[in-house]
C-alpha cells in the first residue's frame, strides 16, 4: 500500500516535471585574456549547419556571442591571418557560460593549434577539468555562469592565467577581515566557485609564491547573489608581473 502510494507520488512528480518550459538558446560571452596585446578574430561555426559567426575582440575585451542554438560549435581564433587556437564547445539550451582565451601568442613558425604531447596526454586522461600548461600556447577555459548563488553573499572563483607565473595566492581584505580566495593556484587552473564574500567593498591582493608583499592590488565591489570571476593575468612589465582582472557577475540563473 505504502509502496503504491510512493510510486503514485513519484509518477505525479515526474508527470509535472515533464511539463517544463523550452529552455531557449544558449549564451556565450568571450573574454580575451591573452598575455600579448593582440586583437583576435574569432569564428564560431555550428556543426549543425547554421551560418558561422565572426567577431573581433581587443586585448582585455569582453564580447557577447549572443544567442546560440543548442549544439556543438567549432571555435577558431586568429591573430591577423594566423590561426592560434582551434577548439570545440557544446552549447546547451538556456545555458550561460564565459569562455576565457588565455596564453601567449607563439613566435612565427610555431603551430599553436596542435597541443604538445604532455598537453594531449593530460587532456586525453583528464577530460574537461584538466587544463594543461601546453607550453603557454593559447587555450580556452570555459566556466559556467549558471551555478547556484549564495542568498546573502557573493561567490568568487579565481583562475590563474598569467603564463609562467605560479603559484598565486589571492585574498580579499577589508577592515581587518581577510578571506583567502585562492591559495597556491597553478597556471592555468581555477578554483571552485565556493568561497563567499559578504556584500560591499573589498581590496583584492595577489601574491606570488612565498612573497610577503602583494604583487598586485585592486578594488572589488560585490553584491549578494553575485558570481564573480577573478583572473590573474600577466602584468605589463617585470615590475608588475601580474594584475587582477574581474569578470563581472551575470544575473542569477533562472
Amino acid at each position: 500500500m505504502a509502496g503504491r502510494s510512493l510510486l503514485a507520488v513519484a509518477a505525479s512528480v515526474i508527470a509535472l516535471a515533464g511539463c517544463h518550459a523550452e529552455r531557449g538558446p544558449g549564451v556565450i560571452r568571450l573574454v580575451s585574456a591573452l598575455a600579448d596585446p593582440h586583437t583576435v578574430a574569432v569564428t564560431v561555426t555550428p556543426r549543425h549547419g547554421d551560418a558561422a559567426r565572426n567577431l573581433k575582440v581587443g586585448p582585455g575585451g569582453v564580447a557577447e556571442l549572443g544567442a546560440l542554438a543548442p549544439g556543438v560549435y567549432d571555435i577558431a581564433v586568429r591573430v591577423g591571418e594566423r590561426p592560434i587556437l582551434r577548439d570545440a564547445l557544446g552549447v546547451g539550451g538556456g545555458s550561460r557560460v564565459t569562455a576565457v582565451l588565455y596564453g601567449r601568442v607563439p613566435a612565427a613558425g610555431v603551430d599553436a593549434t596542435e597541443p604538445t604531447t604532455d598537453a594531449a596526454l593530460i587532456r586525453a586522461l583528464g577530460g574537461a577539468e584538466a587544463r594543461p600548461v601546453n607550453g603557454d600556447l593559447p587555450g580556452l577555459v570555459v566556466v559556467s555562469d549558471d551555478l547556484r548563488r549564495a542568498p546573502d553573499a557573493a561567490k568568487v572563483r579565481v583562475i590563474a592565467l598569467a603564463p609562467g607565473v605560479s603559484p598565486v595566492t589571492v585574498a580579499a581584505a577589508r577592515d581587518g577581515e581577510r578571506v583567502t580566495l585562492a591559495s597556491g593556484l597553478a597556471y592555468p587552473q581555477a578554483t571552485e566557485a565556493s568561497t563567499e564574500l559578504a556584500p560591499g567593498e573589498w581590496t583584492l591582493t595577489v601574491t606570488l609564491g612565498d612573497a610577503a608583499s602583494a604583487a598586485a592590488k585592486r578594488d572589488l565591489a560585490v553584491a549578494r547573489r553575485d558570481l564573480v570571476t577573478v583572473l590573474v593575468l600577466a602584468g605589463p612589465s617585470p615590475e608588475e608581473p601580474v594584475h587582477a582582472y574581474v569578470i563581472p557577475s551575470r544575473r542569477p540563473p533562472r
Partner: protein, 437 residues
C-alpha cells in the same frame, strides 16, 4: 578446506531471502557512489558517461558472478580474504585483505565527503559546515557500531527503496527533457574511447555489492539465492546509473555538473523541481550515504577483526568489546575515513578507492576462473576488464595526480611486501610469510 561446486548444504540457516539480499547488494552500490561519481565521470567522458557506467558495470557484473560462485563454492562468509584463506594462500589473503581495507576506508571517506557536501549545500553551509557534518556522521556511526547495532537489514532495505525511487525519478524526469546537447554543454565533446577512462575513474560506484558476501551466514539458501540476486542487482544498478547519467546531465548540463561535482545530483534536482526537489534529493543522499558508511564500517570492522584473528593485523585490532565489536579497528577505520574526507579531493578519493577495488576484483575473478567450474569465460572477462581498467586508471593517476598514486602504491607495497615486516614489528608472525614475503 576448499569445497567443490555442489558439496555445500544449500540451507545457510539465515533469514535473508532473495529480496533482502538483492536490496542489500543494490543498496551497497547506489548508497553513495553515484552521488559523487557523476561529476567526475562527466568531466572525463562527456557525452559517453552512460557508456563509462556500462563498461565499469560489465566488470562489476563479471565480479558479482565470480563472488557468488566462490562464496557458494567455499560456503563461508568473508569475501576475498576467506576465499584465499580457504585455498591456503595466507600470504596473498593477508595482502589482499589490507588492500581491501584501504579501499573500504577510501570508500567511506567518499561517502562521508558526499554526506557533508550534500547536506551543507542544502543548508548553504560553507567548507567548515561540510567538514563538521562529515566528521559528525562518521563519529555517530562509529558510536552506534560500538554498541553492536551494526547493520539492520530492514532499515537498509527501506533506505534503499527510497533512494532508488528518488534516483530513478530524477533520471526519468531528465529523460522527459531529452536534450542531448546538454550532455556536452560548456565542454568540448569527447571521443568514444574516453568512456574507458571514465569507467576506470568511477569503478568504486559498483563495489558495494560484495559486502553481502560477508553476511553469507545470514542468507537463506545462499546457493539458490546469491547468484541471481547479485547478478540481477548489478544489472539493475547499471540501468539506474545509465538512467541518472543521461537524465541528471540533461537537466543540469555538463559544465554545471562538473563544476558542482560534489553535489551534482542536488544541482539537477534543484533545476528540475526547485526547492522540493532539492530537499527530496538531499534527504535521499543523506540517508543513502549514511547507510553506506554504516554498512561499510560494520563489514570492514568485522573483516579487520577476522584478519587480526588470522594473525594478519596487529592483535589489538582484533580485540572485541563487550558487544563483540572489534572496537579499536572500528575507531581506527572511522577516524581514518573522516580524516580523508576532510583533507582529500573528490576525484582523488574516488579514483584511489576505484583502483583498490579493481585490483581486488581482478584477483577474485582470477580465483573464480581457476577454482570454479562452468562459465569460466565470465571470470576471465572480468580479469581482462580489471587489468585494462587498472592500467588506464594507473596511467590517469600517474599523469594527473602522481602524488596520490605514489601514496597508494606505497600502501599497496606495504600490504604486499612490507606486511610481514610490519606484523613482526607489531609482535605478530604473518601466516604464509615464513620467508618474509
Amino acid at each position: 578446506m576448499a569445497g567443490t561446486d555442489g558439496d555445500q548444504a544449500d540451507d545457510g540457516g539465515g533469514t535473508l531471502g532473495f529480496g533482502g539480499v538483492w536490496a542489500l547488494a543494490a543498496g551497497g552500490m547506489v548508497g553513495g557512489g553515484i552521488y559523487t561519481a557523476l561529476g567526475v565521470v562527466v568531466a572525463v567522458a562527456g557525452q559517453w558517461t552512460w557508456l563509462a557506467f556500462t563498461i565499469s558495470g560489465a566488470l562489476a557484473l563479471a565480479s558479482a558472478h565470480s563472488y557468488a560462485r566462490l562464496a557458494n563454492h567455499f560456503g563461508r562468509a568473508g569475501g576475498a580474504f576467506e576465499f584465499l584463506e580457504e585455498l591456503g594462500d595466507d600470504g596473498v589473503a593477508g595482502a589482499l585483505a589490507w588492500i581491501l581495507i584501504i579501499g573500504y576506508v577510501l570508500t567511506m571517506a567518499v561517502y562521508a565527503f558526499a554526506f557533508g557536501h550534500y547536506v551543507a549545500y542544502a543548508l548553504h553551509g560553507g567548507p567548515w559546515v561540510m567538514r563538521a557534518l562529515a566528521i559528525g556522521a562518521v563519529g555517530a556511526l562509529v558510536a552506534l557500531n560500538f554498541r553492536g547495532v551494526g547493520s539492520v537489514a530492514l532499515v537498509e532495505t527501506v533506505i534503499v527503496a527510497g533512494n532508488l525511487i528518488v534516483l530513478v525519478g530524477l533520471g526519468v524526469i531528465g529523460l522527459t527533457y531529452w536534450d542531448p546537447a546538454q550532455l556536452v554543454a560548456g565542454i568540448a565533446p569527447r571521443e568514444p574511447w574516453s568512456a574507458f577512462v571514465g569507467a576506470a575513474a568511477i569503478f568504486m560506484a559498483y563495489e558495494g555489492f560484495q559486502l553481502i558476501t560477508y553476511e553469507l551466514d545470514e542468507i537463506r539458501s545462499p546457493k539458490r539465492i546469491l547468484m541471481p540476486a547479485l547478478v540481477s542487482a548489478v544489472v539493475f544498478v547499471i540501468g539506474v546509473y545509465v538512467l541518472v547519467a543521461l537524465g541528471a546531465v540533461m537537466i543540469a548540463g555538463a559544465l554545471p555538473t562538473i563544476a558542482d561535482a560534489q553535489v551534482a545530483l542536488s544541482r539537477a534536482a534543484d533545476v528540475a523541481l526547485g526547492t522540493p526537489g532539492l530537499i527530496a534529493l538531499t534527504v535521499a543522499a543523506a540517508f543513502a550515504t549514511t547507510a553506506a558508511i554504516n554498512s561499510t564500517l560494520f563489514s570492514t570492522a568485522k573483516l579487520a577483526g577476522r584478519v587480526a584473528d588470522a594473525g594478519q593485523l596487529p592483535a589489538a585490532l582484533g580485540a572485541r568489546n563487550r558487544h563483540g565489536v572489534p572496537a579499536r579497528a572500528l575507531a581506527g577505520l572511522g577516524g581514518l575515513a573522516a580524516l580523508l574526507a576532510i583533507v582529500g579531493t573528490l576525484s582523488t578519493l574516488v579514483e584511489a578507492a576505484s583502483l583498490a577495488f579493481v585490483v581486488t576484483f581482478g584477483v577474485v575473478n582470477a580465483l573464480a576462473a581457476r577454482h570454479t567450474k562452468g562459465r569460466r569465460w565470465v571470470a576471465w572477462l572480468g580479469v581482462a576488464l580489471a587489468a585494462l581498467i587498472a592500467l588506464v586508471l594507473t596511467a590517469r593517476l600517474a599523469v594527473l595526480t602522481p602524488l596520490a598514486l605514489a601514496l597508494l602504491a606505497g600502501l599497496i607495497a606495504l600490504a604486499t611486501v612490507g606486511r610481514a615486516w610490519f606484523l613482526r614489528l607489531a609482535g605478530r608472525r604473518a601466516p604464509g610469510d615464513d620467508d618474509g614475503g
